[in-house]
């Protein structure tokens, strides 16, 4: 098993070297099989979006025999007389608005938890962690009643306000973990030089928190983009609908009659999320990984 003593390679790699070929072939075959299972539905759908509506269901072919882009061009007609770009713009507005809110409010809160010693900090931190485990549905109805009484139904306020009030405990938690791991000497030195907390937050801690901020921003964007229940409850005029709601409306109205269009629209709706993923997958995966380790 162990490598001969004459081996010059460092010990970590030496044992593996001998088994490398057959082992890694099996490993790649296994991984590729899993990948195939995961991608199977995806490929079928992408292929299906280039088929005529009638050919999609009832066919095992992954790729169209007679490809057409008709499903995509039909999207230009919009849904219920509303252009698809309206839904995209609405979703984009909400997503960007959410990102700004989360970055500002959660980083301020996280700074307080990580860098300021104030009375009651531990209690508040426990409360915040508690909200992580709280089922959202308990708040659903009273929040709806609250926003309804404030006359904010069919506006974006209910969907955005919480983001500016650091309601997403997960991101606060992520940033706290990150800020706690920064060397203490940095901000202590700044304190001795007479820097106030806001200076330290703005010029030292925030720039150093970039990875955590980026992770939070991307997750926030994607969550907001995917959100269905919030818009479903608070928005009731189609021209205010997000992409998610527009899609649901599309399915309800056209459904099987325009199967191809439905699938094409679903794929188009996923594009921004996939683009974000491809561009930032490192940050996303590292963010996920650290959240688990520190929990």
């Amino acid at each position: 098993m162990s490598a001969p003593a004459t081996d010059i390679k460092p010990p970590a790699g030496s044992g593996a070297l001998r088994h490398k070929l057959p082992g890694s072939v099996a490993w790649h075959i296994g991984s590729l099989l899993i990948l195939a299972v995961i991608l199977y539905p995806v490929i079928w759908v992408v292929g299906g979006s280039f088929k005529k509506s009638g050919d999609i269901v009832g066919s095992l072919d992954l790729f169209p025999g007679d490809p057409t882009i008709g499903n995509y061009t039909s999207l230009a007609d919009g849904i219920a007389d509303i252009s698809i770009s309206t839904f995209f713009f609405n979703s984009l507005f909400l997503a960007v608005g959410s990102v700004i809110g989360i970055l500002v409010s959660c980083s301020l809160t996280a700074y307080a938890f990580a860098k300021i010693r104030f009375t009651g900090r531990n209690l508040l931190f426990t409360l915040m962690i508690g909200t992580l485990l709280l089922p959202y549905h308990v708040l659903l109805i009273p929040q709806y009643v609250l926003f309804r009484n404030m006359g904010m139904i069919n506006t974006y306020t209910p969907l955005l306000l919480g983001k500016y009030l650091a309601i997403e405990a997960f991101f606060v938690f992520l940033m706290v973990q990150f800020m706690r791991n920064m060397p203490r000497e940095l901000d202590e030195a700044a304190r001795l030089d007479g820097c106030g907390h806001f200076r330290i937050y703005w010029s030292i801690v925030l720039p150093l928190s970039r990875p955590a901020l980026i992770t939070s921003a991307i997750f926030t964007f994607i969550n907001s983009w995917n959100d269905f229940m919030g818009p479903l409850i608070y928005l009731n005029e189609p021209d205010k609908y997000t992409v998610s709601l527009g899609l649901k409306m599309f399915v309800d109205q056209e459904g099987l009659a325009n199967y191809g269009g439905m699938i094409a629209m679903s794929l188009v709706a996923l594009l921004p999320v996939l683009a974000f993923f491809l561009a930032f997958q490192r940050y996303l995966i590292d963010g996920m990984a650290t959240s688990g380790l520190k929990g």
Binding site: V104, H137, I167, L284
Partner: protein, 334 residues
């Protein structure tokens, strides 16, 4: 909440010192200065925290109290809530549709969560064996977790599992003819289970990070002692990653209880029901939505929400209680 005058034991005499800092200066120079600093720290802390505190009061604590109150009232949004005591709860427990939704949800949690976690751990163990290509597979396996909650994927899922579509056709090749899953009241829930297992990537990433932290020396020592692969997994890997396992079990279970969008979309449209043919995918939150927002029974829906909270709290408590028996934290950590 706004004021910050909770006294720490060491800060006795806080009020007397007020405004007398300069005079005390020469005698005990640090004390008033420290005091002043502490007060400044408190002020800064609560200033930085103020958005969160406002949000907590306005959007979490306040609504929770309101929800608890609504649970004991008859409230339709238009008339003032009317106190009816425990009527909502007795109606709920006596409602066969509510009991059905509990059953569907529990089944979904009990089948879906373990399958997803087993898939996540299995694939993580596989990926952890090699570095080459690991980053690529890890990213590819993770991708479904990001899009899985979207309406798009739910629509696609419905298409895949509907009658005569690709899953049905594939089954028929193997001689299984159960028809489309989404049209079958008993099978539709399994299409949702498949959807959650498809998103095994998120817990997998966390498992992988945990596996990376297991010291290699442990395996080498065990190998010298002649421990086989299975024993090494059971006696080293599993205990060493038990904290991340605990974290994953906790989060995935809590999330599973709250499934809504996919059940609503995959089930939606079939026979005019909001959640599946013959309520096949009528998970708990679907019924909560139907009662609250379609039937305007806000009081009843609040009672349902509180039952969900109690259930989730119980599961969380049991998991935390059980972790003494099977979760091993290294000395120093925690």
């Amino acid at each position: 909440m706004g004021t910050t005058v909770t006294h720490a034991p060491a800060m006795e005499g806080l009020s007397e010192d007020k405004g007398s800092e300069p005079r005390h200066g020469p005698v005990k120079p640090e004390r008033p200065a420290a005091l002043k600093r502490r007060r400044r720290e408190n002020l800064a802390g609560y200033l930085f925290m103020s958005p969160w505190i406002a949000g907590f009061l306005l959007l979490t604590a306040g609504p929770m109290v309101a929800s608890l109150y609504f649970a004991f009232t008859d409230y339709n949004l238009f008339d003032a809530p009317k106190w009816i005591g425990l009527d909502n709860f007795s109606e709920m427990f006596g409602d066969p549709r509510w009991r059905h939704s509990v059953q569907v949800t529990l089944w979904y949690v009990v089948v879906g969560t373990p399958l997803k976690l087993i898939a996540a751990l299995g694939v993580a163990l596989l990926l952890a064996q090699s570095r080459r290509g690991q980053a690529f597979y890890r990213a590819a396996f993770y991708a479904p977790s990001l899009i899985g909650a979207s309406v798009s994927v739910a629509i696609v899922w419905k298409a895949i599992f509907s009658d005569d579509a690709i899953v049905d056709r594939t089954q028929k090749i193997f001689g299984i003819d159960v028809g489309g899953w989404t049209g079958d009241p008993d099978m539709i829930i399994y299409s949702l289970v498949a959807l959650t297992v498809w998103q095994f990537g998120a817990p997998m990433v966390i498992f992988l990070a945990g596996l990376k932290q297991v010291p290699r020396e442990l395996y080498e020592a065990a190998e010298v002692d002649g421990a086989g692969k299975l024993r090494r997994f059971w006696n080293i890997t599993l205990p060493m990653i038990s904290p991340v396992l605990f974290f994953n079990v906790l989060l995935e279970t809590i999330h599973s209880f709250q499934i809504f969008s996919s059940a609503y979309i995959v089930g939606g449209g079939a026979g005019g029901n909001a959640c599946g043919p013959a309520d096949g995918s009528m998970v708990y939150t679907c019924y909560l939505y139907v009662q609250g927002f379609e039937n305007s029974r806000m009081g009843l829906a609040s009672a349902m929400a509180w039952m969900l909270l109690v259930a989730v709290a119980l599961v969380t408590a049991v998991l935390f209680w059980s972790q003494k028996r099977w979760v091993h934290y290294e000395e120093g950590a925690r």
